[in-house]
Amino acid sequence: MAKENLLEIRDLHTSFFTDHGVVRAVNGVDLDVPEGRIVGLVGESGCGKSMTARSVMGLIKSPGRIESGSIKLDGRELVGLSDRELRSVCGDDVSMIFQEPMTSLNPVLKVGRQVEEVLLVHHKASTKEEAKRLTVDMFERVGIPEAEKRMSAYPHELSGGLRQRVMIAMAMVCKPRLLIADEPTTALDVTIEAQILRLMKQLCKEHHMGILIITHNLGVVAEICDDVYVMYAGRIVENAPVFELFDHKRHPYTEGLMNAIPKIGGNPEFLSTIPGVVPNLLHVGDGCTFAGRCAHASDRCRAEMPALYEVAEHHTCRCFLAEREGQ
């Protein structure tokens, strides 16, 4: 995996300073997205996966801020740049797809116009005619039927699947080098989800794009990701290439998650569960954040946060159980 890292996040800390205390939403995250690979960031709601993505895009709003760490796009540091500088550095090279396609499109503008505008703003098209041609082209690429006609539709006239495809067309039209997709298929039906995932895979191959996909669905991860990061309570707890992760998962949380999903073919009387709930990030102690829900937790786990130990090539795990093999 000597591929160049398009995106390199090192020791990122993003915190929210609320009236009730400091919430460390992203607490020392390291993450790489190489060119031409699809990287999955998995975790349950509130684990900080969306905040990691938003930190990259400079979308952290008060009372939150990036406290420390580094985010490098193609070697250029993004942390500390003003909004304006950030736009010029990553405006053309990074796009983001959000979960809810209804709230991310402007309801009073025709969808064609919204995509054309992106092209014009980023100087990827010099005339309106050219922008229109590129937009129709992109609509066809992402599988919008009757693309020319749909150009003049308003968002509410389109189904969820079509709206999400408009969002993808908008994100793709400038041919970004990095695409960040935050739960891109969660709001969609399975048959549409399958279409969208296939499309993202194709686009990644053709344009040699790096894709960071944020999801809670391990099925989506198994389907399209090359590398996976599992996140829990603001920290990465396990990281490995996708086959390694599914075949040799090491962290008790990863294992719990995988066992908790009902699988077709298996016929268990009852599902295995992870007891308890995700800890409140306002009150986390010094120990491992998963210790309260972990069957293997020892006194050491409750007192001390384990580091990320390397358990195999490209496979790291934040658990004392993995420490021994790591040495």
Partner: protein
Amino acid sequence: MTSNGTERGQVILRAEKVTKEFKTRKKQFVHAVSDVDLSLHHGETLALVGESGCGKSTLARTLIHLLPVTSGKVFYKDQEITKMSDRDFRLIGQKMQMVFQDPYASLNPRMTVRDIIAEPLVTHKVFRTKQETTDRVLELMEKVGVPGDFLDRYPHQFSGGQRQRIGIARAIALEPEILVCDEPVSALDVSVQSQVLNLIKHLKQDMELSTLFIGHDLSVINFIADRVAVMFLGRICEVATKDELYSRPLHPYTSFLLDAIPKPDPHLRDHPRRYLSGEIPSPVHPPEGCHFHTRCPYATEQCKREVPEMKDYGGGHLAACHCIRA
């Protein structure tokens, strides 16, 4: 727990040619449910699966008298309930309860947990004293796994999973026979989802509930259901026991659905898959003939003209498709 001696396997709720249309402001009709026949047997979990907008929630609601039907009949045991007034339905209504999808919207934010769970008990005047009611509420909370100390807390103080447990406690307060669960775990995280699914399965066994479980996630349904009915655009296209449906799907739509689920195993990713193209047609102008023909790769001229009838392919495996050779 069954008070009036229905036996396992008997039909407890039955729909006969149920049709439900909604009138839009533009005076058009949304054909949400068309000509559906379906029965729920005592003690079973019947799952209704389909993509959003296929009419599964509407069908479930017409079955338990939450929505009037446009035409057709619904029977509870041998009694027709379709035309009953709300007043007459009251007694039967106690036997049918519902758990809703969104645990954030389905609990009144200004009521305490005690009041939420006690509401059906108070409405139906089950107990005479407050103490008795509180005791029952505590018993129910224990049953669904919410600590009794939280009696006087408000919904916002709970996580999604716990709220869903509270919604379940409210639904089982009157010891219903029929429980309708409308996507009860789609808003929950995986680790919590499995807890709630286990709870529903436990309750079903303990209380001999007949459950109608609405969902879109076929892996969840594989875990919870005994029988599955697949819906597409207002019609049921296949009904079978769980094992039959997953191992031998007959209707093309069912096999496409099964194919489309992302499987949590990367080794399966390169298996050849078939993709369903196109969008779900509008229920305002559903296509002639078989509703699925616009997306179906096997569609023939006959499919475009004639609505396929539901046929039995053995052992209660029903499917409605012109193209099945069996």
